[in-house]
């Protein structure tokens, strides 16, 4: 098991990233380093080609969003996708489907479509990811409101430590249409995938070490990135990604629950 009591660690082998003005980790890393400027643009979610055509046509945004970052993080990695425990972390399900279903149920006919109902479940992206990859290892789907990324990271590290297997973490959030948008103002789609492995190996991006704490959450210095961090629960991981992008050793405190934060220490691979 990696880590001492109350501290847990894993290696980050690869990252996938998609968000407003962030098209992938290669470009996002340059933005977070400050070597490219940040221009906010609506998140462009590509249609995944990993699903069979029938499923592809029906795939809702959340499925394509999770697939985009998941496959970016596994591209070129020596990971057996058919036996890769995967943790999905999000505060929402497919937000447009949720809105459509609620509107349908408010009509006298209540003619719910079976496809819309199955697309509304929280684990829809997880289910399709397992089908697309043939992954028969377990997946889970955790939610902790604005602390969903931290909850997902804890879960992924605990799985890596106890199974001694590589573990995928996919965290994402989507914007709601109105009127739920006014209740839960997530700005745009944002997703990050991290391929984690329990033991050190060459080529890793860095080591992550985590512990629960009660420190103030670390903010980003650049106002445009700080506002991005606050725009979606999944974007609460940006202080961690900034350390990784800069190849710096350092510690940040990530938003988790009201009385708890997650202290994350990043040690680059040298």
């Amino acid at each position: 098991m990696s880590g001492e009591r109350g501290r847990w660690a894993a290696e980050v082998a690869a990252i996938g990233l998609l968000g407003p003005g962030l098209s992938n980790w290669t470009q996002g890393r340059e933005v977070l380093r400050g070597s490219l400027p940040y221009h906010s643009q609506p998140t462009a979610i590509p249609t995944s080609t990993a699903l069979p055509p029938a499923e592809r046509r029906r795939a809702v945004r959340v499925v394509n969003l999770a697939m985009a970052v998941g496959f970016e993080a596994t591209a070129g990695q020596a990971a057996d996708l058919t036996d890769l425990p995967t943790v999905f972390a999000s505060s929402v399900a497919d937000t447009r489907t949720c809105d459509e279903l609620l509107r349908t149920l408010a009509t006298p006919e209540r003619s719910v479509s079976p496809t819309r109902f199955h697309n509304s479940v929280h684990n829809i992206a997880a289910g399709y990811w397992s089908i697309a990859t043939g992954d028969t290892a377990s997946y889970t789907m955790v939610c902790a409101h604005d602390g969903s990324f931290a909850a997902g990271l804890i879960e992924a590290l605990s799985l890596a430590a106890t199974t001694q297997k590589q573990v995928m973490l996919i965290t994402y959030d989507l914007d709601y249409p109105s009127p739920l948008r006014e209740q839960r103002p997530i700005a745009d789609a944002f997703a990050v995938a991290m391929l984690l492995r329990p033991k050190a190996a060459a080529g890793a991006i860095c080591q992550l070490e985590c512990a629960l704490g009660a420190q103030l959450v670390t903010k980003l210095n650049r106002p445009e990135l700080e506002s991005l961090r606050l725009s979606a629960p999944a974007a609460r991981c940006l202080p961690v990604l900034e350390l990784m992008a800069n190849g710096r050793e350092g510690s940040v405190s990530v938003e988790y629950l009201d009385s708890l934060s997650l202290a994350v220490t990043v040690k680059p691979w040298v």
């Binding site: 109902f117 043939g134 377990s138």
Partner: protein, 396 residues
């Protein structure tokens, strides 16, 4: 793997509030399912409704969490001395060392459905609507953490019908890593239009009480429940007879989004993983509480999986003919039913199975098994191909 102690457990469903009422109904072979008269729902189906949930609103200090799901959670927490047991765990370990991991697939869906009927002229929701306390799935864990004054890590797991089984594995991993010393785990799901009309649209709701493993079974009865367990690390002083979580196995079908693998491949590997985790042979399992939803595909696939892993002799039953399918709460509810079987010394029978499906080659109990199990296994198999098997029992 090192077992963890189950020091308190409770369940509330249409069978009644608390273990005693639940045990009594199981012994009497009395179903809690009734023709659907829920809210404004017009469906020809049976449901497992918990009476009296909406009669009392939440106390003012937690009124931001007002929704049927959280009211049901509170009713559930008040049974079987569960809150007192949690308070003792807090005294023993500290509030920050006790986690909260709960499953739900509905959260405050019902209140959101109702709010959408009264959008204002600008299409906005009524001012009384509280997103974070209702529709947000974390509202359940946030609410329970607040009610129990806990300060440890918390999360909601939402993997459809396996949600509240998976939290047992999650909490145990965190104990193993020393992140926490105890955890409140369980699940709460409440009736809402989304699930009732949704399963109806998939042609998965039965017009009669669900009939798991019957040759003519034709779908589920949707139910609601709150079930909780308090898990605690076990020191070196494993006392024989202690009720414990012995093993958890989790897998995915990777087959189809809404129907199980026809041979039950994922359910099979989940049971095998749970046995391996518990370090016991298949022959050590005395009773299986099946997922047994009463759909043709689920029961057929699950029986093949059980036959493959545990053989055709081990006594099995689905208790969904009593409670309905309580979805995200089903895992924890049925683990609590396994705990009743172990503690009260009987095996629940399957209800509404008049002609057992000859394709299902398992020892399906249709009358009360009067020997109590020492070790029981519970299956939870969900939408999205998610499978979780949990083994509990008394320590030798």
């Amino acid at each position: 793997m090192q077992p963890v102690a189950i020091t308190a457990i409770t369940a509330t469903s249409c069978l009644g509030a608390g273990l005693r009422a639940t045990s009594k109904a199981l012994r009497a072979q009395r179903s809690g399912l009734a023709p659907c008269n829920f809210e404004t729902v017009q469906l020809d189906t049976y449901i497992g409704q918990v009476p009296g949930i909406d009669e009392r609103s939440l106390p003012s200090e937690i009124s931001d969490y007002e929704c049927r799901n959280n009211r049901l959670a509170l009713l559930g927490l008040k049974q079987d001395g569960f809150m007192a047991a949690t308070a003792r765990a807090v005294d023993r370990y500290g509030a920050e060392r006790v986690g909260v991991f709960l499953g739900t697939s509905t959260a405050g869906m019902l209140e959101t459905e109702i709010a959408f009927r009264s959008l204002d002229a600008n299409g906005m929701l009524p001012a009384s609507f509280r997103y974070a306390g209702s529709l947000d799935f974390y509202s359940l864990a946030s609410f329970v953490r607040k009610v129990l004054s806990l300060q440890g890590p918390a999360a909601v797991v939402s993997t459809a019908c396996s949600s509240s089984a998976k939290v047992f594995g999650m909490a145990r991993r965190y104990m193993q890593l020393g992140i926490i010393d105890a955890a409140v785990v369980g699940g709460v799901d409440s009736l809402c239009l989304t699930t009732m009309y949704g399963f109806h649209s998939l042609q998965l709701t039965s017009p009669v009480q669900c009939r798991p493993f019957d040759k003519h079974r034709d779908g589920i009865s949707v139910g609601e429940a709150a079930a909780f367990a308090l898990l605690e690390v076990m020191g070196d002083s494993n006392v024989p007879g202690t009720l414990a979580l012995l093993g958890v196995g989790e897998t995915s079908d990777a087959h189809h989004i809404s129907s199980p693998h026809p041979e039950g491949a994922g359910a099979r590997s989940a049971m095998q993983a749970a046995l391996a985790d518990a370090g016991i042979p298949a022959s050590a399992v005395d009773y299986v509480n099946l997922h047994g939803t009463g759909t043709p595909s689920n029961d057929g696939a699950e029986s093949k999986a059980v036959e493959g892993v545990l053989g055709t002799e081990v006594p099995c039953s689905s208790t969904k003919g009593y409670t309905g399918h309580t979805l995200g709460a089903a895992g924890a509810l049925e683990i609590a039913i396994c705990a009743i079987a172990v503690s009260d010394g009987f095996m629940p029978s399957g209800l509404n199975c008049t002609l057992i499906d000859p394709e299902c080659r398992i020892n399906y109990l249709r009358s009360l098994g009067d020997a109590g199990p020492r070790v029981a296994l519970s299956n939870s198999l969900g939408f999205g191909g998610t499978n979780c098997s949990v083994v509990i029992g008394r320590l030798k």
